[in-house]
């Protein structure tokens, strides 16, 4: 009979293979869905997954979309590895944009070259402050960080709405919501004239490399991994859970805040009621799809970004509803989690009807 037997060590091969398998299974599921909807599966799959990659503008857009995702997901991976579940990255992203963007609006006439780095730093701080709340409430009051960070997302969204409709509203904007546009000194410069790729995205895409270095080569990274896989052993080794919770939340908050201010400064150019199409939540999927490994996250971010862009293209070109994209993402995650099994267990064919005791 077939039996699942836990492996002594996680299978690395399976760990890298399972996202690929999940992707393939999602493609197959997608084919079925498309056929059921009466669309040509081959053409539609092409539009979804490949077309975004074959043109310069497509690649640029993929990078624009992947940047914030990769940045946030890299930050999240620290916490997730340590068992600290920061679900509120969306809120930290918004706070980063608010604090960083607020500085840009305050100095809206400035041409000082220091303005840009300053708003980036402010953005990081803003995200950190928002992440500090669940950290504090978890360490001092034992409040579940999942729920606290999530509630803070709603609060952050409402705060942004309040600010751009009220105190921060552009006085020359005819009463419409939105701040002034940021001064040029506070806007991230663009790479190529025709496309939207700006320097902030380069930052975003190199973050995983730095994170990989941090996790693989430093003592802190070692501690994070230890804390996640064996909390008791970690405690014995002197890794305090309080410190771990604070550090991982602050890192993920800071990176999410950075993503927020980068997006506000580079891609949008002002603060308005809507500055995120759900990056903070999608980044969670990216983190898992990338197996919480920085380089995996880089790839996963690109894949997810492609499905977004592809989904929009599919609406325009193939008449597909936009909801299919969200469905795909959920399905990818399901398959991933299902095949995750293989990394931790292996199938054993055993003739004995009952396992022997050790």
């Amino acid at each position: 009979m077939l039996r699942l037997e836990p492996r002594a060590t996680h299978s690395v091969l399976a760990a890298w293979l399972s996202p690929l398998v999940a992707l393939v299974m999602t493609v197959i599921t997608g084919t079925v869905i498309f056929i059921a909807m009466g669309k040509d599966p081959a053409a539609t799959l092409y539009i979804y997954f490949l077309q975004p990659l074959v043109s310069a503008s497509g690649l640029s857009e993929v990078a624009v979309k992947a940047g914030p995702l990769v940045l946030i997901a890299t930050g999240l991976s620290f916490g997730f590895r340590a068992g600290v579940w920061n679900i509120g990255a969306e809120g930290q992203y918004i706070l980063g944009a608010i604090v960083g963007g607020g500085l840009a609006v305050f100095f809206h006439d400035s041409t000082n070259a220091l303005l840009l780095p300053s708003i980036l730093v402010f953005g990081i701080v803003g995200g950190m402050i928002w992440a500090a709340i669940p950290a504090l409430l978890r360490t001092r009051f034992n409040a579940n960080e999942i729920l606290v960070s999530l509630m803070l997302v709603y609060i952050a969204e409402l705060l942004l709405v309040y600010l751009v409709h009220g105190p921060w509203r552009n006085p020359q904007g005819w009463g419409f919501p939105g701040t002034r546009t940021f001064p040029d000194a506070a806007v991230l410069p663009i790479f190529f004239a025709q496309h939207r790729l700006h320097w902030g995205l380069i930052l975003a895409l190199t973050a995983p490399l730095l994170a990989w270095f941090l996790v693989a080569k430093t003592r802190f990274g070692y501690r994070v991994r230890l804390f996640g896989s064996a909390p008791l052993a970690a405690r014995h080794a002197g890794v305090g859970s309080t410190r771990m919770i604070w550090m991982t939340l602050l890192i993920s908050g800071g990176l999410a805040g950075l993503a927020g201010v980068i997006e506000a400064s580079g891609t949008i150019g002002q603060l308005m009621p809507n500055i995120s199409p759900g990056y903070g939540f999608t980044a969670i999927i990216v983190a898992f799809l990338g197996r919480l490994h920085p380089l995996g996250i880089l790839l996963a971010g690109i894949v997810i970004a492609v499905t977004y862009i592809g989904g929009e293209n599919a609406q325009i070109v193939a008449g597909l509803p936009k909801a299919v994209t969200g469905l795909f993402q959920g399905v990818i995650l399901f398959y991933l989690l299902a095949f995750d099994l293989v990394t931790r267990y292996r199938l054993v064919f055993s003739r004995a009807s009952r396992p022997e005791h050790a």
């Binding site: 105190p167 919501p177 939207r196």
Partner: protein, 358 residues
Amino acid sequence: MKSLNRVAIALLAALLSFGASTSASADKTKVGFIYIGPPGDHGWTYAHDQARLEIEKELGDQVETTFVEGVPEGPDAERAIAKLAQTGHKLIFTTSFGYMEPTLKVAKRFPDVKFEHATGYKRADNVSTYSARFYEGRYVQGVIAGKVSKSGVIGYIASFPIPEVVRGINAFMLGAHTQNPNIKVKVVWVYSWYDPGKEADAAKVLMDQGADIITQHTDSTAALQAAADRGIHAFGQASDMIQFAPKTQLTAIIDAWGPYYVARTKALLDGSWKSQDTWDGMGEGMVVMAPFTNMDGDVAALAQKTYDDLRTGKLHAFSGPINDQSGKQVVAAGAVADDGMLAGMNFYIEGIDGELPK
């Protein structure tokens, strides 16, 4: 791992490449639409979509239309608009205020494409703006409400404190005061254009507080239906919602974009398209009232007369004397409010209790 991914992608590409073709019938001109919500909302987006269908009906032999729905007003908007421009669309309608900056940015990149931005205030050589004088419809509704309401309390479900909404409230009350100088309005701000749950809650709360007429500046049918449950009269918004409240809808403001859309498309086809600002109302047929139902004959007659007078220009919704909440006169007797005041309106008129959110 990366090379494995590349091989996989290459294989997929080879398999699917023959399926790719964004076939366009090369003769027909393409017109694109960006929607903020779903065409099925039976409100704002529905009205735009109906107008799009009118284009197809009238000019279907020369024009084909595409739409992208549910595009959030943030960074994604620019990409969606650009995609339409890149795929050969020559005229693009962006149907929400928040698309203003993205539309302008894309317009700069594609000087040969013409853009029509709804309810905005910035133009360019290839960007026009257009809006409708919905407030005229509000005035008619106010007249009806003033005559019909027994409790003397109107329930107003408002979205965001922007000039368009404030204008609507003021126009409504100006109309209502002609019938009942002491009539009061209670305003609830739901901070969303489309949130059925909250709109229904707001309606219930307003009715609990004594309102016996419900009107809304939000897009779903939920408030109308919640009012219908209690037998309370209400007004539909952006399209005729009578089938959702057959016994209680008094009338609705219908956004009749069709004639304008067809005219602009024709202008594109014959080369006469120029950037302009259009703010049409009942006189030009852009604002239409749904049939007056569920009211006594004399009320219907009064409503019809008001409607006719507005249409012919005999009556202007904002004709003086009008004082603002502080008692200061803003429009003199015998004069009418000019477009400048109307466009930037951010004060309540006299007779409205409560403060406008800043």
